[in-house]
Structure formats: C-alpha cells, structure tokens
Symmetry: C2
Subunit: 421 residues, 2 copies
C-alpha cells in the first residue's frame, strides 16, 4: 500500500474542495445593470478575485487585500499584499481605500465581497477616533480576561469601521453579494472575518458591559466613542441590508468530506472526528494516537482499514529553540505515542500551505518514520521537547511542500490504519 | 432526561466491572494440596485479598501491600499500607518480607499473586547491592532521556529484586497464579506493575546499551551489578515459569464496555474512542469538545443521542495555585470549549476514586454548569488558568465523591449528546 500517495491525495482533495477556482464560479450572481465593484480580504482574496475575473462577463473593478506571498494574477482587480496576523500600514491603507470606494454607489451597482481566513487582521480599520494601539491593547486585555469569544467579538465589532456589518452599510444602496470561505468553528458568517457584511445582534451597551464585567481599563476616548450613537453597529432588519446576500461557499467540513471520499475510494472507511478540533498540538497528537490504537486493538470507534480525519487549528506553546509549526508537532507527538504501531500512517498539513511561519504545509508520518529517525541519529522526543519537529521531517525528506494554496479552511489531519495482515 | 443519574450509573458500571469482588472469584484456581500463600501489591490489593478470602475453601495465609487508605478488611491475609507513587520504608519492608515468605515453598504449594495499578511503586525493592537512591536517580535520568517506555522498563527490571519475573522465580517450585487488574495501555502482563511474575525478554546487555545510548551516568556499583550474571532477569522458557499462570482479570476496556452497555440501555448509542487516551487534561478536554461539537452539528462520528466514552490517564502540568486533578481540569476545559452546547453533559472521574491527590473521584458537567458558575460569580477560564477546577465543581455541588473504590482501571470519561429537540 502506498500510504504516502493516498495521504497526499486526500490532502489535495481537501484543498481542492476549498479552492476559489472550484467554489467561487458556481456562486457568482448575474452581472448587474450598473457597475461591479469587487472588494475583499483574506488569504484566498487574490485567488477568489482571479476566479471572479475568469468567470465574469461584464465590466469589473475593485481592490482586495491578501497576505504577503498569497497573491494571484489579476488584470482588472487590484491586489494589495499586507501583513498577517499582526496588521500593518499596507493593510490599513487598503482597508481605508476599500471603504472610500464603497461610497457613492447606486442601487443598480453590485459589490462582490470576497472574504476568507485572515480577513479580520488584513482588513483592520479602527473606528474614527480610536487608535490602532488602543484597539490592540483592549484586544490583549480581552484575551486575558476570561471573556467568551462572543463577548470579545462584541467589543471588537464596536471599535471597528468595517466589522459587524459596517462594510455592507457603506456599500448601500448597492446590492452586496458576499462570498465567504470559512475558517471558523461553526461557519457563522457573523464570525468569519468578524462579519463585515452581516448585521450585528450585539449593542454598544453590551460592549460596555463586557468591558465592565471583566474590569478592562479603557482610555476615556474609547469610552466616549462607545457612548456615542455612531458607534452602534447596524442591526438585523436594518433596511441597508435589504440588498445583501451572504453565502458561505467553502468550509472546513467540505474539505474533510472531500478527503473522506478519497479515502473511501481507496478502500479505507473514513471517520470524521471533527472539523474544529483545537488544543496544544502535541496533546491533540496524543489523543489521536489513543484513538488510532483503539482502532488497531479493538476495531473501535471504527474497524480498519480506516481513515481517521480531523480539522481545526491546533496551537503550539513555544518553549524550545527549534523550528516547527503545529502540524509537524502534532505528527511527531503522534508518531512517538504510536511507538511503531504497524500499518499506520498519517498526514498533518495546513490547507493554506503554510504550517505556522515555516515554508512547509505539513508533513507525513509513515510506518517506518521512527526507525528511520533512529538510524539517522535523531532523538524524536528530544526534538519535540525543543519544538524542533520540522528538523526531523526535513531530514527524513517527509515534509509536505505546496507553497501558498491560496485558500484556507484550517488544518487537515488524517491517519490511515490498515487491516492487520 | 436525568443526565446526572445516567452519567453516574455509567461510571458506577465501569467501576463495578473492574471490582475485585466481581472479577477475582471467577478466576480463582482450585485449592492446592499444600499451602496457599497470597502475596500482591496495588491499589486493589486489599480488596483482591478480601475477595480471595471470601471465596476460598482451604487454608490461606499471606501479605499484600496497598496504598494508604485503600485497605479492606481481611482476617487471614495481612494487609500493609504504604506510600504511592513515591515508595516509602513501609513498602520496602513489606516487599522484603514477601520475597522472604516465597523462599522454601514446595511443589504442592500455591502462590496467589494479586497485582493491580500502583503495584510497581508499592513493591519497589532494589536488587542486592543497588541503593534506592541510585535506582531513583537512574529513573529520573531515563525519563528525561527520550528513551522509549520499553527501554526504560528494560533498565528498571534489571535493577529490581522483584520485577521482570523475579517474584515468580522466588516462588519456584510452587505453582503461581497471578491475577492482574490492568491500568496500562495494551494490558501487557509484563508491563503491569513491571511484570513480577512474567518472564523478561530483555537482557542485562540491553539495559547497558540503553544506558549508553542515552548517555546516562551510573555509579560504578550499578554497572558492576549489571555486568554480573545474577543481574540477568529470568527468560521465557525458563523452567521456573513452568507452574506460572498469568491472568489479566480486568482491564480499562472492560470498564468502558460496561459503561457502554449502560448508555445503550438508556437509549444513547455508545462510541468508545479509546481506553488509553493520554495528554494534558485541558487539551484532552478540547479534543473531546471538538468531537462532541461535530456530533451535534453533523452527526459525525456518530449521530445523537449518543455517548462518547474514553479512558486512560491524562496529565496536569501545574502552573497555578489552585486545587484540582486531571478529571476536573478535563471537564472544566470541555465545558468552556462547548460554550453552552445544548443537551450535552459529561462525567470524568478516576475509577480508583481519587482524582490525583484530591478527595473526589471526579465531577459532572451539566448543560447549565457554565450558567450556574456565572451566577455564582465564578470565572471558569480564570479558574482553569489557575489549576483551580476543583473549586468550580465543589461550589456548584457537582463533585463525584466515592472514596477509594479499591480498584484501578484509570480514568473514565463520558459525554452524552442528546438528540436536538
């Protein structure tokens, strides 16, 4: 059995299911009578813009922001590259120009809004009167406070000039069709890139309550902003959303289902564990190992030959000096815990093509990986302790290298457990 | 639906399946012509001894070691309480007396050996010429070295007077029946309490190679010991094992299967994820949350109403100042990640009745737990960050208190996800 090929085929199927070239064209509306303005942000923004250009019959203009290195050739839509995950001046300036372009549209015009993972920081524009520094300080305090994600988003939306439906409002009275590639658990359009085209159900009063509840100190200027009527986000039922359509066109689940079909076609029963599995990467690896061992020993939760599949974004708490993203850490931890379990192989890779800040998407774990590592003089446990998982897979030639895939539906993990001979 | 009752019923079924009173009697051999000597060690040792006494027709004598507080009333078998997990003088003295008692038995005599989790440290007796301090220092160095568990066990067995089959050899020519309650992944008899009645396939040369491979410094006296013929562990085929029978009488899997039957009887489809799932407790909680969310949203990997079940020993890296074992940490992390997911409830508890070093076995998470915590002024995220999960469940009245259960098949976790209304 060529595990290497099947695992890579599954990953490629997952990425293809979320690729703009596949999922954008089928969701495009008919051209309007007036102008068509394309705006957007995210790791897939340039590729989505290119997919629009390649499938659009009328005139077209616009501006999208993507991450450095995630660009794609466009002729009619301007593509700006900017920093992610920490916003920079290029992103702020592009966001300002997008808001400017949305002003003065007519009812017969159409705005195509192209949203994908990373869009929130690429399109960061503080509300008038709020400095970026204040916004960042409040964000850090929120993260430490114990506030729920819903509470944090409530505050963020009320400090932004774009989030929480403000982009759609800025486009009124033009029609807006927002196409979204989801990288968030649950695929809620109001959470993807903080919902620039989605009405907000929370209020400035809610935002102030959250700040008080968690005793978050804010400058007087921020409090004054939140107490002003202009800070209120647009609400459901607001007639300015009348011409707005939000469509989630690709999700992590779509990617996992595509990989599951590839596994089934190769005779491996797929079992999707979850599309939003999070946690410290090495511990996520241990839990996956425990499930893979149960498969091999008891045929639970599914009998081999099978493929355990999961998605979601693991985290890495860096304590060592090595190199490695969450996918190589997951995989090395998995391999150590499996301790040579026969006929078991795995892949872990980021669907955006970049594992954290490395140059690889992820890596492959093969049945002989630990043996080969030992022969190469590598100590996998010591490398994992030093956050140096990249080095192990690099030295073994088992990195998965794709370059930016120009989409993002989070991490992809699959473990093949073959029938025992 | 009374989730509280069903979850507790499932846990009780898991514990009952591994209770000595249930599993010892059915595995007892017929009485021998000669003497019957009962020896043993572990958290279940006293309860196993009591189960022997209550179901044995002939004369009986013996000595078993259990953890402080895990005793059970015995009339004919002496029960010694000792320290776990760090051995103390009481345990060493009991181990010495057990080896002494095994000398001078006849072929018509029978040794009943009762082994359970914790037995390894309760029955720690260094080989002659090795100090306990040396043994402990080498053990610490092994844990840091990156050695596999198999490599570590090889060294440990060659430094012990009891492990790696030596207890059985000491009992020859008497017959030995060893009854084991497993708390180790894979239930390998040579690993449970380091296999005191199981032949060892590794050699002193292997042990020396491991020490060299990982550059572990050992005192000259230890090296001299390992180079002497007396240090060699008894091997498979050694005729002194001729009269030895090893039986694993209860396993973590047995406990999970019993809980699964209880869930099914209540209309919840059980899915056993793994009986040996390890990792940092809060991250194990996050992964379980990811699977539970997939169940609720997609009916994957199983459709509700269902029960996700797992076992194994999670770990807690203490960074805060609070109270809490791995089960309450798992549960609080799970609850925060589920963020109020409706119709979902869970239990996590140690089958030995003690969650780490606390007085509770574990706790319950109910659909309204986070709401009740908020009303009680508790900040679950802050408590989790402070390793203070115990306090949350204690204040809500949701601890599971059993006292020592007198068995040990590791942790038990179950998540009920009901059908949506």
């Amino acid at each position: 059995m060529n595990y290497r090929k099947l695992l890579r085929d599954m990953f490629d199927a997952a990425v293809a299911a979320a690729s703009p070239a596949v999922c954008v064209p089928r969701h495009l509306p008919p051209p309007p009578k007036g102008r068509t303005l394309v705006v957007g942000a995210g790791k897939a923004a340039a590729a989505m813009a290119a997919a629009v250009e390649g499938n659009w019959s009328g005139p077209l203009e616009g501006l999208v922001v993507t991450r450095y290195g995630h660009t794609a050739p466009c002729r009619r839509i301007e593509v700006v590259e900017a920093a992610h995950p920490v916003p920079d001046a290029a992103g702020r300036e592009a966001a300002r120009r997008i808001v400017e372009k949305l002003g003065g549209l007519a009812p017969e015009d159409l705005v195509l809004c192209l949203i994908s993972g990373g869009g929130s920081s690429l399109l960061a524009l503080p509300a008038p009167g709020i400095s970026l520094e204040d916004k960042q300080a409040i964000n850090r305090a929120l993260l430490r406070s114990g506030a729920h994600i819903g509470e944090m988003n409530c505050v963020r939306k009320h400090l932004s000039a774009i989030k929480g439906g403000r982009l759609a409002v800025a486009a009124a009275p033009a029609a807006v069709v927002s196409l979204m590639i989801s990288d968030v658990p649950g695929d809620d359009p109001s959470i993807i890139a903080s919902g620039p085209t989605v009405p907000d159900t929370t209020t400035t009063d809610d935002a102030i309550s959250v700040l008080r509840k968690y005793r978050i100190e804010v400058p007087g200027s921020v409090l004054k902003h939140l107490q002003a009527a202009a800070a209120e986000t647009p609400k459901p039922g607001d007639r300015r959303f009348h011409g707005v359509t939000n469509r989630v066109i690709a999700t992590p689940q779509d990617a996992l289902e595509a990989a599951a079909r590839a596994a089934r076609a190769a005779g491996f029963q797929p079992l999707i564990l979850g599309n939003a599995i999070e946690g410290e990467a090495r511990d996520v690896g241990l839990v996956h190992a425990g499930i893979a061992q149960q498969v091999a020993r008891y045929g639970q939760p599914v009998a081999p030959p099978c493929a355990l599949i999961s998605g979601g974004e693991a985290t890495v708490t860096v304590r060592g000096d090595g190199r490695g993203g969450r996918n190589t850490e997951f995989l090395l931890s998995l391999g150590i815990a499996l301790d040579g379990q026969s006929a078991t192989a795995a892949i872990a890779a980021d669907t955006d093509g970049i594992d954290g800040s490395e140059d690889n998407a992820g890596a492959l774990l093969l049945p002989d990986t630990l043996d080969r590592a030992a022969r190469a003089g590598l100590n996998p446990k010591a490398r994992l302790a030093d956050n140096d998982a990249y080095a192990v897979f690099a030295q073994l030639g088992d990195l998965v290298m794709t370059g930016p895939t120009l989409t993002n539906v989070n991490d992809f993990r699959a473990i093949l457990i073959d029938a025992r001979p």
